[in-house]
């Protein structure tokens, strides 16, 4: 059964890239939901408990990535859905902060479709039992 993913990013270009990536190889046939800021992202996350993975940009207007993670933790929304923070920089402190906020993993830019496939594969392996 095809998997569902959520991408949260304020760049249209990134959404186009995600579409390309999610249409190829092992990811072909996936359903992808799109949000252009943290608030929309949170709404879509709440609406889709079946998501296999969320790709979350760090820098966005109206609720950035860290803020979304913080709210998710406070409200304990769908804790089983892994959220991957997508970012350009990655000092060890940034990563620690992200994980502390609840990010399951980091995806560093620039990435290629293969990197997304890898992250998805890892997430599916470790997926906690939940509604499919």
């Amino acid at each position: 059964m095809p998997n569902a993913f959520l991408v949260v990013d304020d760049s249209k270009l990134h959404h186009q890239m995600y579409n390309l990536a999610f249409a190829r190889g092992t990811l072909a046939g996936s359903t992808v939901y799109h949000a252009t800021n943290g608030r929309e992202g949170y709404t879509l996350l709440a609406a889709h408990p079946e998501l296999a993975l969320v790709l979350l940009d760090l820098n966005m207007p109206e609720m950035n990535g860290l803020e979304l993670l913080a709210r998710r933790r406070t409200e304990n929304l769908h804790p089983h859905i892994p959220i991957v923070l997508v970012t350009t920089e990655g000092t060890p402190e940034d990563e620690a902060r992200g994980r502390a906020a609840g990010a399951w993993d980091y995806l560093r830019k620039p990435f290629q479709p293969a990197d997304i496939e890898r992250v998805v594969a890892r997430a599916l392996e470790r997926a906690a039992p939940g509604p499919t």
């Binding site: 270009l13 390309l20 760090l58 820098n59 966005m60 207007p61 350009t88 990435f111």
Partner: protein, 558 residues
């Protein structure tokens, strides 16, 4: 560049569509900030708000494998972060780096599809690094480490994104302008077909005589006309863009020109919201750039000259757009030395043109003639100051007019008048010796029945007394070479005019007003002086459109 192996390379146009406006927005803001910092105002948090777009361009460039753009964007981001944290560093050096870097970034993004050279980018990154390091060495005395400055700046980067304006509301769509052109073409065809239907209806009505069906048809056609008119209105609106879309390149241009010419010049623009058809806007840039370049390079005096003349050291270029009764007027003025009437007169005489030195307006209008450069020095920036005839031709091709006025020692002012739209023209159809012509209504002042007591001859040239003025009246048949001998058939004359000039044109009949679709003249036909295009009338016949402006420009034959 890794773009070939990059799986996203097919998205290169989308990359440009997203990142070019961001880069330009950033670049424009830097140019504006440079000016403010020069005036001693370190400004608010405009700078902080620019970090977001830079971050996006950096990230996107990285994703697309466009390393030079990524490098430059990163360097700019770092400089921005430093200057955001340290307002005391906001000065000429930092500003110059930001302006040149953003110019480079705009260029790199624009040419991303064609591949970019990395050397310039690497060089800029070096300059940025040097600037930041030397600034931080000064700041390091009071800070524990360079990293903490960057860390604070990094945090600011994330939080400042919230202050950015929200991204485009979902009700805006991006449309390829060619689609709008295609729509306009189809609408034009529709209007031609509509004219044909109306013509057929008229003939039918005459044949059949009044009846209920004819009356119904009449009403239905009227309703159709109204609907098509509304469609035209809405379509024209979608093609409108604000004048600022062409104006906003100019502050940077003037800044660069001023630097190169070593003269302080500032550009003041107003009326940026004035709407213009995109097709016209696209072709307006070049002539305006010519005029601006001429102004900076030749019109504005050196700082010493200005001081001697008691003028402020910094020269001002004033560019404004306004809409006036269905046309858009763009005025560019400078406070430079003005036109040199003596030079123009000398040049005119050298070219064998006859001029009346007593009429400065007529004299100055000569500068639009080819070969008429009175500038003595050659400058690498602007050549010989030539190009005014090219400018005039470009403006004319857009259906516009250009006039110049000057006050010696005080400056020059160019006034461009442009139609709101290229494609559909409200016109008056006239008949001359059984040929029909369209006269753009925007230039028709009046139509007058010829009465013997108002028509006179002075020096064998026709004149008419019209509203208390004597205006020259030309015979349309002669003007247009119809070849028919004069037979007193001219019942009317049409007063055409632009600005202060007026002329009458004698015709046989006035057929009526019509909205016509303008079809440009095929180059095969040549470049007639009196005709600016053609159109298809309701009965399917082609009619020529009179080039009113050229006709008015024509010197009255001796």
């Amino acid at each position: 560049m890794a773009a070939d192996e990059n799986a996203f390379s097919e998205l290169i146009q989308d990359y440009i569509v997203e990142c070019l406006p961001l880069a330009e927005q950033v670049g424009d803001a830097f140019v504006a900030l440079e000016r403010r910092w020069k005036e001693g105002d370190p400004g608010d948090n405009t700078l902080a708000a620019l970090a977001g777009p830079l971050h996006t361009v950096k990230g996107n460039s990285a994703m697309m494998g466009i390393a030079p753009a990524q490098t430059v964007a990163h360097a700019l981001e770092d400089i921005c972060a430093l200057l955001t944290a340290e307002p005391r560093l906001r000065g000429d050096e930092g500003a110059a780096l930001l302006v040149s870097g953003s110019g480079m970034l705009i260029d790199l993004v624009r040419r991303a599809a064609g591949g970019a050279q990395p050397e310039a980018a690497a060089e800029f990154a070096e300059q940025a690094r040097a600037f930041i390091t030397s600034a931080q060495t000064g700041a390091a005395a009071s800070e524990s480490a360079g990293e903490s400055t960057e860390r604070r700046a990094g945090d600011r980067r994330i939080t400042s994104r919230r202050e950015e304006a929200a991204s485009e509301p979902g009700s805006v769509v991006r449309v390829d302008f060619r689609r709008l052109d295609a729509l306009l073409e189809v609408l034009g065809e529709g209007m031609i077909e509509q004219s044909a239907v109306i013509e057929l209806y008229r003939r039918l009505a005459r044949k059949v005589g009044p009846s209920d069906e004819v009356a119904d048809l009449d009403r239905a056609l009227l309703a159709l006309q109204k609907t098509i008119k509304r469609m035209e209105g809405i379509l024209m609106e979608t093609r409108l863009l604000p004048a600022s879309s062409v104006f906003n390149r100019f502050p940077r241009l003037v800044r660069d020109l001023a630097h190169a010419a070593k003269k302080p010049v500032r550009l003041v623009t107003s009326g940026g919201a004035t709407p213009l058809d995109k097709a016209i806007l696209d072709r307006l840039g070049e002539p305006l750039i010519h005029l601006l370049t001429n102004a900076v390079v030749h019109g504005i005096e050196s700082p010493e000259e200005r001081a001697r003349a008691g003028k402020p050291a910094e020269a001002t270029l004033d560019l404004r757009a306004t809409s006036e009764s269905g046309r858009v007027v763009i005025r560019l003025s400078d406070d430079g030395r003005g036109l040199d009437d003596a030079s123009i007169l000398a040049k005119a005489e050298a070219l064998g043109l006859e001029v009346r030195a007593s009429d400065p307006e007529q004299l100055r209008a000569l500068i639009f003639l080819p070969g008429f450069s009175t500038v003595k020095e050659v400058s690498s920036l602007a050549g010989r100051g030539v190009g005014l005839d090219v400018v005039a031709t470009s403006i004319r091709e857009l259906g516009g007019t250009i006039e110049v006025s000057s006050r010696p020692g005080q400056g020059v002012s160019f006034t461009l008048s442009l139609p709101l739209t290229l494609a559909i023209l409200r016109s008056l159809i006239v008949e001359v010796d059984r040929e029909r012509y369209a006269v753009p209504l925007s230039h028709v002042t009046a139509t007058v029945r010829t009465e013997p007591d108002t028509m006179h001859q002075i020096n064998q040239k026709g004149v008419a007394l019209w509203r208390g003025d004597l205006i020259h009246v030309a015979d349309a048949g002669e003007l247009l070479g119809t070849g028919a001998p004069p037979n007193g058939s001219r019942r009317f004359y049409v007063v055409i005019g632009t600005g202060a000039r007026r002329r009458g044109i004698l015709v046989d009949r006035l057929i009526g007003h019509q909205d016509i679709v303008v079809k440009s003249l095929d180059p095969t036909v040549g470049r007639p002086e009196v005709v600016s295009g053609t159109t298809i009338l309701g009965d399917g016949k082609v009619a020529c459109i009179l080039d009113v402006v050229r006709i008015l420009d024509q010197r009255v034959p001796v």
